[in-house]
Amino acid sequence: MTLLSVEQLSVSLRDRHVLKNITFAVGTGECVGLLGPNGAGKTTLMRAALGLIPHEGSSSIASMDPAERARTAAWIPQTREIAWPVTVERLVMLGRIPYMAGGQRPKVDDHENVDAALAAMELDGLRNRTATRLSGGEQARVLIARALAQDTPLILADEPVAGLDPAHQISTMQKFAGLARAGRSVIVSAHDLGLAARHCTRLILLSGGSIAADGPPDEVLTIERMAEIFGVRAFFQDTEDGPVFQPLEVIQ
């Protein structure tokens, strides 16, 4: 089933074309890695697809009414903003806002979803801690749990592993891959190409606001594209655990 369908999506900011005629569709069970150099348009593409910024062309999620959209797609922005010193449990409960009218108290269903999200991100022990006082890695997990509590078939995450230590980078990507296997769809942007290649079922490579390649990881990530799009010479090896990339030097 198609969860997100984007057609001829373009975004211009002050006469500059940030995205040009992007077309793709994401179905159930896909874990899509969104790759590309800085400024390629990864964040803009996700925000436009969610209807958070003005755009031309169409996105099936953006054209939904806000209430329906909030129950279809959850968004994890890269800026890990937590404005107030709320507890972890309360913060994760914010994910239930699309299901609650103003002033309504959480119901059994809401508590169940929050408990499941906390368990999924291994946060049970931190439930009553103040979210703003946690480490960066713990905060990142809390914010992913918040999106899980929103209980949407589609999750979009903007560089969710940025700033995490290697163990948490791997476990976070494993978590997203697991969600996709369990029947949700995930779109994550990332800069670690090897990590994305090993955990995603599909990669979309953006360059200069257009899709340069779209397909299974081993078809999308080639030494030639690394050189052409990222401007780096990279070490590449196909291992039992999936492809390993290590950028070595900048191509002048």
Binding site: W75, T79, E81, I82, A83, I97, G102, G103
Partner: protein, 327 residues
């Protein structure tokens, strides 16, 4: 949460009764409350119904308005330093009042002053909405507020500067200190519709403010219409602050300090902070207005002076505490 609400209502009620029984006319508490209820045309009933009752009601209304608007503004901007005066409405309302004093309108027309202050508030809100209403960001709202505040302050200074006689200038300066002394029930009725409208609008913001804990982008993706939220915040704040300024002048620090103090008691949840700050604001202004009458009963100490004198050190203490937490 319930315990906090019950406690605050009890304190507010006690202070309300105290406000009714404290004044220059030496009347016992029981006697004064009996006179209030009795309704005979005696002088005691007159004092109670025409002087003390409106004053106590206005303290509750003004305090609740400033506390509520402060909590909403801090929640929207996700900044504990935000306060209701930020959007410039208190400045333009004050300018309207000052013009009415300067032109003699306040003296010649009954309620000329609050009416002109409300006109000032309306002009102010029209400017903010035009600059930051439906398409602007929180930043344009702050910048618009700063610009409008600065313009209103400059024009207020100009009026003072050109004041033909020292009496008018004196009256303006004293009015600007903020007070709810010598107000009548008419002032209550003038302010009430605007405040009630503002309270109703601001009370609906809780869900959106909670979502904003995660930032504007995440809130937008959770179905919160941010442009609508901002418009409601501006109109709601302008209604309560404009009405409060028109009947009480500039009462500072309530909208800043009250949400800040109460935040830990509601687990920092913006939606719960709304009603708690409304109660807290009422308590602070009631207490300050009682203090005004007890500290220097014969010197007409101004309410705004006391709230600032109490609020500023409290705020310094809070900054000190926050600094230690961050270190």
């Amino acid at each position: 949460m319930e315990r906090l609400a019950i406690g605050m209502i009890a304190v507010a009620l006690a202070l309300f009764l105290a406000a009714l029984t404290i004044g220059p006319a030496a009347i016992g508490p029981g006697e004064s409350l009996r006179a209030l209820i009795a309704g005979d045309a005696g002088p005691l009933t007159l004092v109670m119904r025409e002087i003390r009752l409106p004053r106590a009601i206005l303290a509750v209304m003004v305090g609740a308005s400033l506390g509520l608007a402060g909590a909403a503004m801090q929640g929207y901007l996700r900044n504990p330093l935000a306060e209701p005066g930020l959007i410039g409405i208190s400045g333009t309302a004050a300018l309207g009042a000052v013009i009415s004093i300067q032109t003699g309108l306040a003296a010649s027309v009954a309620l000329g002053l609050p009416a002109m202050a409300l006109v000032g508030a309306l002009v102010g809100v029209a400017l903010v909405v035009a600059l930051a209403g439906s398409r602007g960001s929180s930043l344009t709202m702050i910048l618009a507020g700063i610009a409008i505040s600065a313009l209103a302050a400059a024009l207020t200074s100009l009026v003072l500067n050109l004041s033909p006689n020292p009496f008018a200038a004196n009256e303006i300066v004293f009015w600007m200190m903020g007070s709810i002394a010598d107000r009548s029930m008419t002032h209550v009725w003038i302010a009430l519709p605007f405040m009630a409208l503002g309270w109703m609008i601001l009370a609906t913001l809780g869900r959106g403010l909670d979502a904003l804990t995660l930032g504007e982008d995440a809130a937008g993706a959770m179905g919160i219409d941010l442009a609508r939220l901002r418009l409601k915040l501006i109109v709601g704040t302008a209604s309560v602050v404009g009405a409060a300024t028109s009947v009480a002048g500039a009462i500072g620090f309530v909208g800043l300090v009250v949400p800040h103090i109460l935040r830990p008691f509601v687990d920092a949840q913006p939606s719960r902070l709304l009603w708690a700050s409304a109660m807290g604001g009422a308590i602070m202004v009631l207490a300050a207005d009682i203090a005004v009458r007890l500290i220097l009963p014969d010197r007409d100490l101004k309410l705004g002076v006391v709230t600032a004198l109490v609020g500023a050190p409290l705020f310094l203490h809070l900054i000190y505490k926050t600094r230690r937490q961050l270190a």
